[in-house]
């Protein structure tokens, strides 16, 4: 590394004001001084709407733990779009994501990705992780919420013969259910792994308002460390059930959707982006991140739903409203999350 950085420094004399990486990028597309990149190495269709994409990251990537997620940037119509995806591959290996087409970006990823495409990346993060000691586990997943759990299962089962895992996976129907064949294979090979499929089109949703459904599906659920990932209604209901059962500590939730308030009062205001020298009128329901991006401001962004805190920006003055809670923030100098904050009157951002 010492030799490499010395060589790069020497080369920068010849490449100034560009970075040597900018020139290396002419032959190696993964080379960039500013932005971690990855190249797509495999694309496997899972269901008609879901695709698994494997990619090889460039320097700067740290191997992921099972259950973690990463920000993936992809260019659509020339514009870079960022979203967060759980890494479905086993820990440490080359990362994979399994994307279900449900929005513009995920539809693009699921249907348009080709081997050799370049992804923009941020290193994996997240604390939806396996317990450190051996414990019986219950995995409750819905839809594409199975992806981080799949990474956990793929990591755990080959390593631990004594693993005791029950996976209850809900999907609309058999056709749209992810990883069906692999789960069946894993269950056949590992005595301690049990899979229960719930097809909501036929069986209806699991009812978390009473313990009846969960008792039937996994009678010893109270003694298991439980992981839940899926639609936010499912997470909310499960959280409530576990709290009511006086077991809140044994439930770990991975939340990828945030319920935003749909009814927002107020008229918004003028947003000034100080460093970018832009001034824009914003309404009371558009996140400041989008307002900034529309105005051409280089806004830091990540999950776009208020969980990763990549988009933190100092509020110089004015008022913003948290779209999730309706809370007003007018603390000068406070770091606000632009992806879930909207103008609640005029506001002035230090970006």
């Amino acid at each position: 590394m010492g030799l490499k950085s010395a060589a790069l420094r020497a080369a920068s004399v010849f490449t100034h004001p560009a970075h040597p990486h900018d020139f290396l990028a002419l032959i190696n597309p993964l080379s960039s001084a500013r932005q971690l990149r990855g190249v797509v190495t495999a694309v496997r269709p899972e269901t008609p709407q879901s695709t698994t994409i494997a990619f090889r990251p460039g320097d700067g990537w740290s191997p992921h733990d099972a259950g973690q997620w990463a920000r993936i940037g992809v260019e659509i119509d020339g514009v870079r779009q960022w979203r967060s995806y759980s890494l479905s591959a086993p820990a440490g290996g080359d990362p994979e994501i399994t994307v279900t087409a449900c929005g513009r970006v995920s539809a693009h990823l699921a249907h348009e990705t080709r081997v050799g495409d370049i992804f923009f990346l941020a290193p994996p993060q997240g604390d939806f992780l396996l317990p450190t000691g051996p414990r019986p586990l219950l995995m409750l997943t819905g839809g594409s919420g199975i992806t981080p759990v799949m990474s956990m299962v793929r990591t755990l089962l080959p390593k631990r013969a004594d693993a005791d895992v029950v996976l209850i996976h809900s999907a609309h129907d058999r056709e749209s259910s992810l990883f069906g064949d692999e789960l069946a294979e894993l269950a056949a090979r590992h005595d301690g792994f049990h899979v229960v499929h719930r097809y909501t089109a036929e069986d209806g949703r699991i009812d978390f308002s009473t313990v009846r459904d969960i008792d039937a599906l996994c009678p010893d659920w109270r003694s298991r460390k439980t992981y839940v990932c899926g639609p936010s209604a499912m997470l909310d209901d499960a959280e409530k059930l576990w709290v009511d059962a006086n077991l809140p500590g044994s439930l770990t939730v991975e939340r990828f959707e945030t319920a935003k308030l749909t009814q927002v009062s107020g008229n918004g205001g003028t947003v000034i982006f100080e460093k970018s020298d832009r001034e824009v009128e914003a309404d009371a329901s558009t996140p400041l991140l989008e307002v900034g991006e529309e105005a051409g401001v280089l806004m830091p962004s990540g999950c776009r739903m208020g969980i990763c805190r990549t988009c933190l920006t100092p509020l110089l003055s004015g008022q913003v409203r948290d779209l999730r809670t309706g809370e007003i923030n007018d603390t000068e100098g406070d770091l606000i999350q632009t992806c879930i904050s909207a103008a609640a009157g005029n506001c002035h951002l230090d970006i």
Binding site: V13, A18, R80, D277
Partner: protein, 418 residues
């Protein structure tokens, strides 16, 4: 239109303009070329130009992104190739090829890439590698300082005397409306010297030393700009005039040979950039304005000022790319943040608008426009009236006579001939 001496002095006071101009209303005085238009017509013209802009923004996409990436690749490829040729080759042809490739790379990097990226034309891609807040160009002037004098000052106050410092860059008289000063006799000499050293001229200009003496820029700001320039200049000089020629020594070439190549390449770029940029606002048919005239300017009037204050160059597609599409100066001034590769399709639409509203659209081939520019710079070296008497008086060997002449000139009175 005549600009009085008083008017020049009053323009020093800065008027605060808002970012968004009103669509309705009227300025104090429309330039003569647009005096025939009614307020409604100007408003309509503004809406038509806004529509052209919206149309391009809606079309902007993957092909534009591919264009700028390809251009950057070509420029970097030419730079590497050119330096390798210059360092390793021992023949005259190799020297010329290397020098030419570096010069071409610098022209592309500076004009089609640097100038336009720094305008934010590619910010919509959200690529931190090609963004107006991160790009640094292969030019002595640091990008951030240049963005201020260029994007902010020049593009806001296009051709407004006393506000747009690009009108003559404080060292040249380029308009009859600038009062003649004794230093203007050096106009052609200054310009001839400026061309090959253009990047140094721009770097010095961006420091805004005149604003410091006028008390409009703080000494601290000046110092920090100067520090940034020093840092940048050292690295630019180290790359082109030290490291590259020194690398040649390793393969048995002389230092001088490499140095001659990089000096030549930079001069080619400088002369080219100077020529293109001077043709953008100084040929015949281009208007200048006073700050009083534009008071109350509407969006439509702003567009009109950009159209009347700029001039295009005609030529092939390759020529447009090599000028950084500043050959479409009129389009660039109306829409400074639209991707440069789109100006070529905007041009016929803008021209049609000019025709419809009976407004001039100044364009011509480079040699013609360049000749007009130089002719003007030479003619304006001399005062408008009593040319030789005035020059003789202010440059007289007699100190008293010289002083009297300068005082009379300053007061706007006839030069005493006795």
């Amino acid at each position: 239109m005549t600009l009085t001496t008083e008017a020049t002095e009053t323009t020093v006071a800065t008027k605060k303009r808002t970012g968004v101009l009103p669509t309705t209303g009227a300025p104090l005085e429309r330039p003569s070329a647009a005096a025939h238009l009614s307020d409604e017509q100007v408003q309509q013209l503004g809406a038509e130009l806004d529509a052209i802009r919206d149309e391009i923004i809606a079309k902007r996409g993957a092909s534009d992104a591919a264009y700028i990436r390809r251009t950057i690749k070509v420029a970097r490829g030419l730079d590497v190739g050119g330096r390798i040729a210059l360092v390793f080759s021992k023949t005259k042809l190799g020297w010329a090829a290397g020098t030419g490739a570096i010069a071409l790379s610098k022209v592309l990097e500076n004009m089609e890439i640097g100038h336009n990226v720094l305008h934010g034309q590619w910010d919509w891609m959200r690529d931190p590698d090609i963004h107006s807040t991160t790009w640094e160009w292969d030019f002595v002037a640091p990008a951030r300082g240049w963005q201020h004098t260029h994007n902010d000052i020049h593009h806001t106050w296009t051709n407004v005397l006393g506000k747009d410092r690009d009108v003559g860059y404080n060292i040249l008289r380029v308009s009859e409306d600038q009062p003649w000063q004794p230093r203007d006799v050096w106009n052609p000499v200054v310009n001839a010297f400026l061309a090959p050293f253009f990047e140094w001229g721009i770097a010095s200009y961006d420091l805004e030393w005149d604003m410091v003496t006028a008390g409009l820029k703080s000494k601290e700001d000046f110092k920090s700009d100067l520090t940034a320039l020093k840092k940048k200049a050292i690295r630019q000089v180290a790359k082109d005039y030290v490291a590259t020629p020194a690398a040649g020594i390793l393969v048995g070439n002389s230092f001088k040979r490499g140095l001659a190549g990089t000096v030549t390449a930079n001069m080619i770029r400088n002369v080219w950039a100077h020529a293109v940029i001077f043709c953008g606002h100084f040929p015949d048919g281009v208007d200048v304005f006073t700050e009083e005239m534009i008071d109350g300017e509407t969006r439509g009037d702003w567009y009109i000022r950009q159209m009347l204050g700029s001039a295009n160059l005609s030529g092939s597609k390759l020529f447009h790319i090599l000028t950084g599409n500043l050959s479409h100066q009129i389009e660039h001034h109306c829409f400074p943040d639209l991707p440069s590769n789109r100006y070529i399709e905007v041009a016929p639409k803008l021209r049609a608008v000019c025709r419809k509203y009976d407004l001039p659209y100044t364009t011509g081939p480079l040699p013609k426009q360049l000749f007009q520019t130089w002719k003007k710079i030479c003619q304006l070296a001399l005062p408008d009236e009593n040319k030789w008497e005035t020059v003789k008086a202010v440059y007289s060997p007699n100190k008293a006579k010289r002083r009297r002449a300068k005082a009379a000139l300053k007061a706007g009175q006839p030069i005493p001939t006795a």
